[in-house]
Symmetry: C2
Subunit: 194 residues, 2 copies
């Protein structure tokens, strides 16, 4: 029989570098990522079941009613959520699964899955996050301002997570995340002494 996999949640404010850290982590360790469901229209090249599960609003709401999401939210008129069933299938097969999601979603997962291991990626400082977001130069100042406001609020929630990884450099942050993934496999509750 397989040992059940571990559910990891990786979150952090917009602009903190979650995606880059995760890419580095996945280059060094096999890790199943969840696929989100959304009601927004597929963009060119996006495949159903690969990039997203594309659902109608009716299908999405039915799934919400059935408690079929680990977390869900609405952004700019579209619904997004993490379907529970594919995640559980991987966990049951003994694979660790990582959800890279927004901070609010991560809080929801904690309610539904208190055994999930939750990692918060934090910037070296708020000023540094601001520099990174402004420095991108791709967003309108108004959008940047709103993101920073959200980030300031989200950073106050960091202490509610299991781990806080400060993203000073991608290499250091990825090494921290990899250490957490490995250490959690050694948690006494998960190891059978023979």
């Amino acid at each position: 029989m397989h040992e059940r996999g571990i559910l990891f949640v990786l979150t952090g404010p917009s602009g903190v570098g979650k995606g880059t850290v995760l890419k580095e982590v996945r280059g060094q360790r096999e890790l199943y990522l969840s696929i989100s469901a959304t009601t927004r229209q597929p963009r060119p090249g996006e495949q159903d079941g690969v990039h997203y599960f594309f659902l109608t609003r009716e299908q999405f709401e039915k799934k919400v009613a059935e408690n079929g999401f680990l977390e869900h939210a609405e952004f700019s008129g579209n619904c997004y959520g993490t379907p529970a069933a594919p995640v559980d299938a991987q966990l049951d097969a003994g694979h660790d699964v990582l959800l890279e999601i927004e901070v609010q979603g991560a809080m929801q997962v904690h309610q539904k899955r208190p055994d999930a291991v939750r990692i918060f990626i934090a910037p070296p400082s708020f000023d540094e996050l601001e520099r990174r977001l402004v420095g991108r130069g791709t967003e309108q100042p108004e959008v940047v301002r709103r993101r920073l406001e959200t980030a300031r609020h989200e950073l106050t929630m960091a202490e509610q997570f299991d781990y806080i990884v400060v993203n000073n450099t991608v290499e250091q942050a990825a090494a921290d995340v990899l250490a957490i993934l490995r250490a959690e496999k050694c948690r006494a509750a998960r190891v059978q002494v023979k």
Copy 2:
């Protein structure tokens, strides 16, 4: 101001390979080890304050009465203990400290320092531990038999620890311990978000 260091406790039954794993860990990461106090006579070459703090029984008992040990025990008519003060001095200076001690001692540390991170090194199986202990060929069969009896009891306590590292190979076990040391630095309670 320094962040206070973390107190790690490494334990496991006799013959499980704690010392070898720890040597490998220390080759890859700086780590302060505690120095034990003992009432036994120094052996040739042993220096006070380096290999042990050598105390008279009277000095030892005074220290016990003053609650000056993190743990202490008597073996074959000699007292052994881990003096608290030097450990606290290192922790206060921001250094992580590791105590490599017997299972009973590790249980005592938990009482006095509930914030210590406790790692139990387990053999791949009880049979394998037996093979290793017998295979050494350095001990009398009676000594081996007693150690195995103790080990069998100690293994039932593993689940009370924070982590269980199964020593399949020295490299894997050392990597697990290193991951635990690194991950624990990222525990949310220990990280200040700026």
